[in-house]
């Protein structure tokens, strides 16, 4: 029996070949680059966590070691300012300490995410805890910022005097310690964003 093999036109066979190679390469591409991208995101997350530890710890220590004693003294009072005197600053130090402790404890999870790309459950947990810790840190930082603002400017209506004019170095120290905290807040935002992107990558 003579089986006639119909000839494909050259353009048809070329199109078939192109489709085959394209779909093959796209499959290979998706299986190779997605774990690579996720790993890069996890490594970046780990680095940002380390930076946030430095920021929060630095802020806590800077605020916690502020005190200033003015050189003049009256018969009854010595003019001394400490971070203890204002409860919001105590809250700031405590919040920064808690957040830096949480960050240290979450470093193993971050390393686990670098090693295993498919660890979605722990990533969701980390996103939630990062959000909670960011809220705690932001509330502490903004409370301290509000008091620092009042210390700098005072308030005429409520008759609150600007304390910074007397306690110069105390004011400088407490203003500077806010910077590390605010930087850590921004790092937290970026970390949540990175975890979200890593979660949303499709798996085949």
């Amino acid at each position: 029996m003579h089986i006639e093999r119909p000839k494909q036109t050259p353009s048809q066979s070329f199109q078939k070949k192109m489709k085959a190679t394209m779909s093959e390469s796209s499959e290979l591409k998706s299986s190779k680059t997605k774990p690579g991208v996720n790993r890069g995101l996890s490594i970046l997350d780990f680095i940002l966590r380390l930076a946030a530890i430095v920021g929060t710890l630095g802020s806590a220590i800077a605020m916690g070691t502020t005190n200033q004693t003015l050189p003049f003294v009256t018969q009854f009072i010595q003019f001394r300012a400490e971070y203890n005197d204002i409860p919001m600053f105590t809250f700031f130090v405590v919040a920064n300490a808690i957040v830096s402790g949480y960050l240290v404890l979450s470093l193993p999870f971050s390393i686990f995410h670098i090693l295993r790309n498919r660890a979605h459950g722990t990533r969701v947990l980390l996103v939630f805890l990062d959000g909670g810790m960011m809220a705690l840190l932001t509330s502490g930082a903004s409370a301290a910022a509000a008091i620092v603002y009042l210390a700098h400017k005072g308030n005429a209506k409520t008759n609150w005097l600007a304390v910074c004019q007397q306690f110069n170095s105390f004011c400088e120290r407490i203003s500077g310690s806010l910077i590390g905290s605010f930087a850590a807040i921004i790092l937290f935002l970026v970390m949540i964003f990175l975890s979200g992107v890593a979660l949303s990558h499709r798996r085949r």
């Binding site: 119909p6 005197d85 409520t158 979200g196 499709r202």
Partner: protein, 212 residues
């Protein structure tokens, strides 16, 4: 043209009539890779449930943010006594921190209103990862903003309630009781909005987890 069509039909008939020896299926693994993987009904329903709960939480966050902004914005008290030159009054204008609070809560409430359409899109298409990721990021920004406003206002309200002896700041609430109460209520409302934003972030992350 005609030749090409007829040749295509010939090829098909060739494979079906290939006989007992060559009866192999025309395997096309490359075509199979192009078929999208269908997710099962279970995750579909769960994600739709999460999306509906997400809208409910969003409306709750909107109402608490709006209530906080409105309560602080309308807080004001005029004391019934006055001297020859002053009338003793206090309103949220007098403290820049409270002004910051009202503005930021207004911005957050506006953001929640604008994000409701995205949430509706997520209900209609539960497996779309793009809007979910956008909502996750913007919700975390809104969380940061509202927590900042809440923390700052809470600090000033606490200061107004108890004063501070070291800095010689007097407790203003002893005179302006109503004003302090309204401000405290507004702060409580904004902390409720903070909690709702945190839950919204959790739900967005859960929905993204099974995004396929």
């Amino acid at each position: 043209m005609k030749n090409a069509e007829s040749s295509a039909i010939n090829v098909a008939s060739e494979t079906t009539n290939s006989g007992p020896i060559g009866k192999k299926k025309s395997t096309t693994p490359l075509l199979a890779a192009e078929v999208p993987i269908r997710p099962d009904r279970g995750t579909h329903r769960m994600k739709r449930g999460l999306a509906i709960f997400d809208i409910v939480l969003r409306i709750g966050a909107l109402s608490s943010a709006l209530a906080a902004a409105a309560t602080m914005g309308t807080s004001g008290q005029t004391l019934p006594f006055f001297t020859q030159f002053f009338q003793f009054e206090a309103s949220y204008d007098d403290l820049p921190t409270f002004q910051f609070f009202v503005i930021v809560m207004g911005i957050v409430a506006g953001y929640v209103v604008l994000s409701i359409p995205f949430s509706i899109v997520c209900i209609i298409r539960p497996h779309a990862a793009g809007p979910r990721l956008l909502l996750l990021i913007l919700d975390s920004v809104a969380l940061a903003l509202s927590t900042a406003a809440a923390g700052a206002a809470a600090a000033v309200v606490a200061l107004a309630h108890s004063g501070n002896s070291s800095t010689n700041w007097l407790a203003v609430c002893n005179q302006f009781g109503d004003f302090c109460q309204q401000a405290s209520g507004a702060v409580v409302g904004s902390f409720a909005a903070v909690l709702l934003f945190l839950l919204l972030i959790l739900f967005s992350a859960l929905s993204l987890k099974n995004a396929h």
